[in-house]
């Protein structure tokens, strides 16, 4: 991956209106793997009794981290749409705490990338959610 590729990924992230609206930030990137963070915000709370961040924000974070991990394989070729995403919610996040997600491509075929992702609040070894998904790769002949 060339020096400018992380910059290109950051530019692409900042070009996604929903990611900007939720305040996502790129923490780390290597080819096929991405760390993406979502801050806690009062208007993004899912349970008003506990002030825990909404599952919907974690869904967007996991989906986007996976999509960026696919794009990071080859920024020239780019990524494609999500085919499916399965999310297991292990436990609620800590109150008033943001969430970080790590996504990794564990198998790439000519047309499909298979990914796993994990999201945590404080300790990566104690996840709030895990995900597994398949993403369509752009047709290299077009």
């Amino acid at each position: 991956m060339s020096q400018s590729d992380p910059d290109r990924l950051v530019a692409r992230l900042m070009g996604s209106p929903h990611c900007v609206a939720l305040g996502f930030s790129l923490v780390a990137v290597e080819p096929g793997a991405v760390h993406l963070a979502a801050p806690w915000r009062e208007d993004l709370v899912g349970d008003p009794d506990t002030q825990v961040i909404a599952g919907g924000v974690i869904t967007s974070l996991l989906d986007h981290a996976c999509g960026m991990a696919v794009t990071s394989l080859s920024p020239e070729r780019g990524g494609g749409p999500t085919l499916d995403l399965r999310i297991d919610y292990m436990r609620p996040a800590a109150p008033r705490t943001g969430v970080t997600a790590a996504a990794r491509c564990y198998k790439v075929t000519r047309s499909i990338a298979f990914l796993r992702a994990v999201a945590w609040d404080v300790d990566e070894a104690d996840p709030v959610a895990t995900a597994q998904g398949a993403f369509v790769l752009p047709d290299p002949t077009t």
């Binding site: 070009g15 996604s16 209106p17 929903h18 990611c19 900007v20 609206a21 009062e42 208007d43 993004l44 709370v45 899912g46 349970d47 008003p48 009794d49 909404a54 599952g55 919907g56 924000v57 869904t59 967007s60 974070l61 996991l62 989906d63 986007h64 999509g67 749409p81 999500t82 085919l83 499916d84 995403l85 399965r86 999310i87 297991d88 919610y89 609620p92």
Partner: protein
Amino acid sequence: MTPAEQLAAFLQQVPYLRYLGMRAELAGDEMTAILPYRPDLIGNPNIPALHGGVLGAFLEMTALAQLAVVERSSRVHKTIDVTIEFLRPGRPVTTYARADLRKVGRRIANVHVEAWQDERGSPVAALRGHFLLSERP
């Protein structure tokens, strides 16, 4: 509370739902969730398409809202797992969704949800999920 009041309370009490701008209409016990288009719900501006996470979250919230209508509990039910299938790009227009409570057990519910835009027969995304039902007060 009536089912309509129960639904209104659910939509009002979750800050993230107010952020998304999700609404819902009730016909008897059948609910249609409505997500009006807004520019900051776009994930990929080149297509342009709604963010996959927005569609996933809308489907999940539709399931929780339908459960709130049927299950008279003031607590928010907890999502155990969801599988989201993306069928078509979500275009920058209003999206609708309806939930089918396949099984509501004592502790766990299995729910299928489908979202569409202009044509009910051409869904943009679908969700299957399990939800933990909180204790009745």
